[in-house]
Amino acid sequence: MKELKILYLYPDMLELYGDYGNIQVLKYRLESRGYSCVIDRYSLEDIAPDFTKYDLVFAGGGADIEQNILSNDLIKYKENIKQAIDEGVFFLLICGAYQLFGKYYKDVEGNIINGLEIFPYYTEAIEDRKKRCIGNIVIDVNLNGNSSKVIGFENHGGQTFDISSPFGKVLVGNGNKFNDEFEGFFQKNIIATYLHGPLLAKNPELADYIIKYCLDRKYDENLCLEPLNDNFENLCREQLLNRFLSQ
């Protein structure tokens, strides 16, 4: 049976906004099609993982205090992570994890939390703790040449600068900064974004894009994924796109 191996980073620390749902959605969509899905978890004090052995690496968003604790741990794996990215392992990074893969994160007090410096962007929190980009967000994303509307929820104080290739164009919501035109960071095998929701729950097209990428890479083929019963997803998208885009 064909199988995807997922590495889930810091599941007990980066788990503030139900981001684990992304893994559940991937697992559900894989298993519904007869593929197997193995999820390995890594957190502080665990045995070091080899990132290159995985098909997909996932990390979510957490509270400042936790992000501070784990950033020093993550940096230990910088070279291994770089190698995995170069070899084409898919990285799905949400919110706090998005920030950690950049140069640095400057928090509300002005403290610098070092990033992995794998990507050239950096993030600075707004000094006013109460000012955050919060709300429903819809972005337009280009997936293999097809435009897809991606629905999520953003909640971040950090403003991310120097994005060379964004994830999507903002239709409703803020994006990388207050009133930004663009959201997230996107490279063939990297999606880094502020979108919770969880991201993949209401965006099956995006979930399947990731699944197809990983399977194609692993088994060197050009798969056409079997369609699934997405009735609830379609109804949900129709309802929410109507509501949010008419705001």
Binding site: D12, M13, E15, L16, Y17, G18, D19, Y20, G21, Q24, V25, Y28, L44, E45, A63, D64, I65, E66, I69, R129, I134, G135, N136, F153, N155, H196, G197, P198, A201, K202, N229, F232, E233, L235, C236, Q239
Partner: protein, 437 residues
């Protein structure tokens, strides 16, 4: 003089509202506060002030404390309707004071919103603060739990009154260290119950020691992150327990404290914790145990808080769930019940609910016990359906209706036992639909 007139005017308004048959909520407090934010200093309070705060269970704990005092023949003034911000508490005081600001009661018992504890008790002298739990709750409105706790921690640094704390919540017990000079810190705890587990089954907060950042070790989890924990590095958590709940028996709805048996009208571990908070609190005021026993055996939740009813002869249990822990506690009760049942989950995303519904992914829908069908409704009915489907529940047995009337209609097509979980703004509309059947 100004305060005298503020009180006079609000009292006249109160009478007016009463004639119109209205309660007014916190309107009086809002007005008075606008006229003079320092009005709190006008009240002459000579009785002990008790405050209850928590993410979940404030109203119940508050009302049960009041009920025990009343059983013991005491006069209690309390914000029983749950208006728990400063203006709500101000309204309660305005309605019950004399024109010169005198408050006549043996005890003042207030439930206070977590964020308002430091604000409110700058003005009013607090005798006892009861803190029961901290869970993630509407993050887009309230922010992270940690910042809320730190605010209360700061307030407690100079507080010397009674502090009643849940020792099984690492985020609560830490408050006991805020003021090392305070000798009036009392911890309560509950012994392992039948469905406690070795792993955290539901999303929780307390994973690291707040003092030395070491990962906490748990002997067991009762629910969410509530359980017996210790910091292996600095021994945080190893406190002397003032009141310990033992022999929790949810089938027979009993538990014991100090070898006294308490019977209750509930079958949830979460409620046992609320009652431990109640017992710890009232014990500080020398209330005879027989009144506590009596009050706890009679105390009943209502208004959609674990409300038990029968609709068309079909047993129905309705519970409010504003956050993952609230929902997980409801599902625990459902899972500990072997009977065949159907579930209705109503999810709105109005302002008071928080716009962010991603918290539903922190609800544990795995391995539901004997649930035959699930119906979802509310403005986010489809989000809920996707969530449940992804957990592995048979998609052909899930129905989603954004229209609440249709949802309730479909729910009662069968005569299987019903569990209903609804979030904040959906609770009353859901009850209304159910009770109009």
């Amino acid at each position: 003089m100004k305060n005298f007139f503020i009180v006079l005017i609000t009292k006249i308004m109160h009478i007016g509202l009463k004639i119109l048959g209205k309660n007014g909520g916190n309107i009086l407090g809002k007005l008075a506060y606008k006229w003079n934010p320092n009005i709190f200093s006008y009240f002459k309070i000579n009785s002990p002030v008790i405050a209850v705060t928590a993410t979940n269970g404030k109203t119940m704990t508050n009302n049960a404390i009041s009920y025990v005092f009343e059983k013991a023949g005491k006069k209690v003034l309390s914000n029983k309707e749950g208006n728990n911000m400063e203006t709500g508490i101000l309204s309660t005081l305005l309605k019950n004071c004399s024109l010169t600001g005198k408050i006549k009661a043996d005890y003042l018992v207030f439930e206070v919103d977590e964020g308002y504890v430091p604000i409110l008790f700058k003005y009013i002298k607090l005798d006892t603060l009861v803190v029961n739990n901290f869970f993630r709750d509407q993050l887009d409105r309230n922010g992270e739990v940690e910042s809320l706790i730190l605010k209360i921690y700061d307030f407690l640094k100079t507080y010397n009154g009674n502090l009643v704390l849940n020792n099984d919540d690492p985020n609560v017990a830490r408050l006991g260290r805020a003021n090392p000079d305070n000798e009036n810190v009392y911890y309560f705890s509950v012994e392992k119950y039948k469905y406690a587990s070795n792993e955290m089954k539901e999303a929780g907060e307390g994973k690291f020691c707040p003092f030395c950042k070491t990962r906490l070790e748990y002997e067991y989890y009762q629910y969410s992150h509530i359980g017996k924990f210790i910091c292996p590095n600095c021994q945080y958590g190893d406190n002397e327990i003032y009141k310990l709940g033992t022999n929790v028996d949810l089938e027979n709805q009993t538990f014991e404290v100090d070898n006294v048996l308490y019977k209750m009208k509930s079958n949830s571990i979460y409620i046992v914790y609320n009652f431990l908070a109640v017992i710890s609190c009232v014990s500080l005021y020398d209330i005879d145990t027989k009144y506590i026993q009596e009050a706890i055996s009679e105390f009943e939740l209502n208004n959609g808080r674990l409300e038990k009813t029968e609709i068309k002869g079909i047993p129905t249990i309705i519970n409010l769930a504003k956050n993952p822990t609230g929902a997980n506690v409801s599902l625990r009760i459902l899972n500990e019940d072997e009977d065949e049942k159907e579930l209705l989950f109503v999810l709105n995303d109005n302002r008071a609910d928080g716009f962010d519904v991603s918290w539903i992914w922190d609800i544990n829908f795995n391995n539901l016990t004997n649930v035959k069908r699930i119906i979802t409704s509310g403005t986010r009915a489809y989000d809920m359906a996707i969530r449940i489907k992804t957990s592995g529940f048979d998609v052909s047995q899930i129905e989603a209706y954004t229209n609440l009337h249709e949802a309730v209609d479909s729910l009662y097509k069968t005569n299987v036992k019903k569990y209903v979980i609804a979030n904040y703004t959906s609770l009353q509309p859901t009850r209304k639909e159910i009770f109009s059947l």
